[in-house]
Amino acid sequence: MQVNEYKPLIVAFCCNWCSYAGADLAGNNRLNYPADVKIIRVPCSCRVNPMFILRAFQRGADGVILCGCHPGDCHYTSGNYYTRRRMALLFSMLDYLGIEKERTRVEWVSAAEGAKFAATMNDFVETVAALGENKRLEDLRCKK
Amino acid sequence: MSQKNDRAKEQILKMSGVNPLKCMRCGKCSGTCPSYDEMEYHPHQFVYMVETGEIDKLMQSPSIYKCLSCFACVDRCPRGVEPAKLVEAVRLTVIRQKGMNHMTADSIPALLDDDLPQQAIVSAMRKYSK
């Protein structure tokens, strides 16, 4: 095992009703995924302001993933549709700025899909780790 | 399960595009089949035998030539399993295995009889004209 294995820093925004519960279910079923993923709970995926994602990249995150209820299943009826459209725009803008599309992702994970949550996180971490560190938007003044 | 032939099964599933696991064993295909009494293995058995991999038995059975390709089973299956497509795939496998066709396309017109369903003729043309 390598000692200096590169560990990406992943911020995951999970909606309270589906994906956060899905993450809990992954825990209940003891489905492992890398500890690089840190989850922030939001009431709905549509609560995630693009500013939060920019801030994460600015502070040195290597990847950001947004998880919400499946289309049509939003607890607030239509929140995830807003997310889908907003993030399509934001991610293509970030891509233009040099944050590769692979570093950002929107996934639909229901409260019943613990296995999907773990699989998604494993896959996302692997993808981001393959890309290496994010340097593009990082604000060096934020580094200690 | 000495009869199991997983490779042939895989091949047949690929050719036919059928998923036998969708079958809920209702028997509507056999209830609807017009040449049921002619067959050694009936449509519902076909699905089951492909699922369990007993392909060799099917390939040796005359049943596969008794199917009229009328597609009544395909039309009425509540689960969309499409047994006739499996029969067709088994027939094709037999032909491919021998490495040659039973007959040439030219020999077909002489064999046609008026009572043959249109669909069977089309099937035959497709099968033998390659």
Binding site: D24, L25, C46 | R25, T32, H42, R76
Partner: protein, 664 residues
């Protein structure tokens, strides 16, 4: 600066097994604002909670972070603890170090490192928490039940029993629903009318219950506790209060050839009609599509014979507006159309019928007076074939069938077969089945009785084709166990048609903002733990509108829905979710963007006077959030261009702080 206390839970070895809890507690001591940090075996236990309360007092804490299991598990517990210690209950944040840390990671150093980061994020968030107080809204102590079948009747009776007024809205001229059309009920074989009609009379006589028959809900506004509902009372051209239900008009009406929908079109009724003898309310209704007077202005016979003077040809649809605290949906089901199943020849032969039609043919009040006769020639059938799962469990034919199991068919088919064999022992009865599904109290015993005592022939297989030929139905089917194809000459074929939700359900769901599944069944708030509540607060589900079910299940669900309604109506005030949107009116520019994205219509605008620096006043249009309606999704906060909108409990700066803490 906040005074924050951090409490790290071991959860036995659930957390402590992979996370060095002592190290986490130690690391937290150095976080800004943290004045106290400790760990304990079980934080959620009585002793753990007492420990938190003591620490709040001793260290004058004004913010609490509990590093434990998921907030979905114990957030409510620790909020109560905080409140008991004199803190605002929203000054608590949970770091989820069990489900999302110790249970998904295996190595101690990695788990510990992540737990520390999660705890830091929670500390960063709690230091920006503000005390929140849930808003209050009053509760209108009246319930609305939509649908007057057995589900709606039972719900209404139970709610009225608790002393609350209830209104039933029913689209048909009478309540009773599908159960009123049935003959006998399984598994006890008591007659449906004998057990249903007394309940219908109870409803009619109950002072707390009003029946709006021949009416529809056309609009719903408002929210839990205060729904404003518009009810359309369709013109029935008969004054309900004057009509005595004597039936004189229905006898004299010259329009005699209107298909009788109560008997599923198997006989005729008049243009003015009372659906059946025990109808509630027992009031005549004029069918405007067939009444001569209404269509051409020539006739007026019913008006002449009516002693009570109840006929009113000039009646118009009326709209009522009522306010309710709770709404129960009980819209029920219908059998699906058999027209598209060509193989069963339903459209070609009158002698191929559905099970519901058979109920009418066997009912003493039905078109044949209870004698089982073939619809085509009124002869007694000697061979009867039942086909199960027609359109049920039908995945491939979405345009004609349903993917789900309709649940009730196995039992009613066994009932029909048994009743026929009992009454006409000279009849041969065949039942083609795919599976016989009879879970339920005394259900399997019932089905076995049909086979063993009554000699019904159950055949594992399916009918492939029915061909009408010279008055005989040629049935071709498979017997899978005998491995042969069967050919039966039948006199009558009965199709167990799948059931589907009533067509009115989907528009109603839209009005109620209640969610539905792809089959148009209403979705429950939780499939196991909240089966009678819709995810929309204040909307409850009763009967088959939620999924296929039989009468015993419907009645128990109706009672359960009623108890939930009573629980709601007993409250004087409702506490809302305080995590709602809030607009900073100094920043709001009144652009209306937030109003457009709000799925609940919680945002309105008002013109407000502001004092300018030069002491003049200026009127500006600003957004205002109705806290009772807002559900706290936060869609508006992102849409807001001026950054005026924020979500309490999940404020922009709080989430930013979490991001910062994680990315540090």
């Amino acid at each position: 600066m906040k005074r924050i206390g951090v409490f790290v839970c071991h959860c036995g070895t659930n957390i402590a097994g992979t996370v060095d809890v002592k190290a986490v507690a130690e690391a937290m001591k150095h976080e800004p604002g943290v004045v106290f940090s400790t760990d304990y075996q079980y934080m959620c236990s009585q002793a753990g909670q007492e420990m938190i309360k003591a620490a709040v007092k001793e260290h004058r804490l004004d913010g609490i972070v509990v590093c434990s299991c998921s907030p979905r598990m114990h957030e409510a517990t620790f909020r109560k603890t905080a409140a008991a210690a004199g803190l605002n209950s929203y000054m608590v944040e949970i770091a989820n170090i069990r489900e999302q840390c110790s249970w998904v990671h295996k190595e101690m150093p990695i788990g510990t490192e992540k737990a520390i980061i999660l705890a830091k994020a929670a500390v960063a968030k709690v230091s920006l928490n503000a005390p929140l107080t849930p808003g209050e809204s009053p509760v209108t102590k009246r319930a609305l039940v939509i649908g007057g079948g057995i589900a709606g009747i039972q719900t209404a009776l139970d709610i009225a029993d608790a002393g609350f007024p209830v209104d039933i809205v029913e689209t048909k001229p009478t309540i009773g629903g599908k159960m009123a059309q049935l003959d006998k009920t399984f598994p006890t074989l008591d007659c449906a009318a004998c057990i249903l009609t007394p309940k219908m009379v109870d409803v009619a006589q109950n002072e707390k219950i009003r029946i709006f028959s021949y009416s529809e809900v056309t609009d719903v506004k408002g929210f839990v506790g205060n729904f404003d509902v518009t009810i359309k009372r369709k013109a029935r051209y008969v004054n309900e209060t004057l009509c005595t239900g004597c039936g004189a008009c229905t006898e004299k009406c010259p329009m005699k050839k209107v298909p009788n929908e109560f008997n599923l079109g198997m006989d005729n009724r008049h243009a003015v009609y009372i659906p059946f003898a025990q109808a509630v309310p027992k009031v005549a209704t004029i069918d405007p599509n067939h009444c001569l007077m209404l269509k051409s202005g020539k006739c007026g016979l019913c008006s002449k014979v009516c002693g009570a003077g109840a006929i009113d040809y000039k009646a118009k649809d009326e709209f009522l507006e009522e306010r309710y605290g709770a709404i129960v949906v009980a819209t029920g089901f219908n059998p699906i159309s058999m027209e598209k199943f060509d193989e069963f020849a339903y459209a070609q032969s009158k002698d191929v019928i559905t099970s519901l039609e058979l109920e009418r043919l066997m009912n003493a009040a039905g078109p044949t007076g209870g004698t089982l006769l073939r619809p085509s020639d009124h002869q007694h059938p000697h061979t009867i074939v039942f086909v199960q799962c027609v359109g049920s469990r039908c995945e491939a034919c979405a345009e004609k069938g349903k993917e789900y199991c309709s649940k009730i068919c196995c039992m009613y088919t066994a009932k029909h077969a048994m009743l026929i064999r009992d009454k006409y022992p000279d009849t041969d009865v065949y039942v083609f089945y795919i599976d016989v599904r009879t879970p339920g109290k005394n259900f399997d015993e019932f089905y076995r009785r049909a086979v063993e005592e009554y000699g019904v022939h159950y055949i594992k297989g399916m009918v492939g084709k029915v061909t009408p030929e010279n008055g005989v139905l040629k049935v071709q089917g498979s017997d899978l166990i005998d491995n042969r194809q069967l050919h039966i000459d039948a006199d009558l074929v009965v199709l167990a048609a799948a059931i589907e939700p009533d067509k009115s359900a989907r528009p109603l769901a839209t009005m109620l903002t209640a969610s539905m599944d792809t089959n148009d069944f209403f979705t429950e708030a939780h499939p196991k733990l909240r089966p009678v509540e819709s995810p929309t607060a204040g909307v409850f589900l009763s009967g088959t509108c939620q999924g296929p079910k039989d009468i015993p299940e419907t009645v128990s669900q109706a009672g359960a829905a009623a108890s939930k309604v009573i629980g709601l109506l007993c409250k004087d005030k409702l506490l809302g979710n305080p995590c709602v949107a809030h607009s900073d009116e100094m920043m709001c520019n009144g652009c209306s963007t937030c109003e457009k994205v709000c799925p609940y219509g919680a945002i309105t605008y008002e013109d407000k006077e502001f004092r300018m620096p030069d002491r003049t006043t200026k009127v500006r249009r600003v957004a205002k959030v109705n806290e009772a309606v807002c559900q706290g999704c936060g869609a508006c906060t992102v849409a807001c261009m001026s950054g005026a909108m924020d979500l309490k409990g999940f404020m922009n700066k709080q989430i930013m702080a979490e991001v910062d803490a994680i990315c540090k």
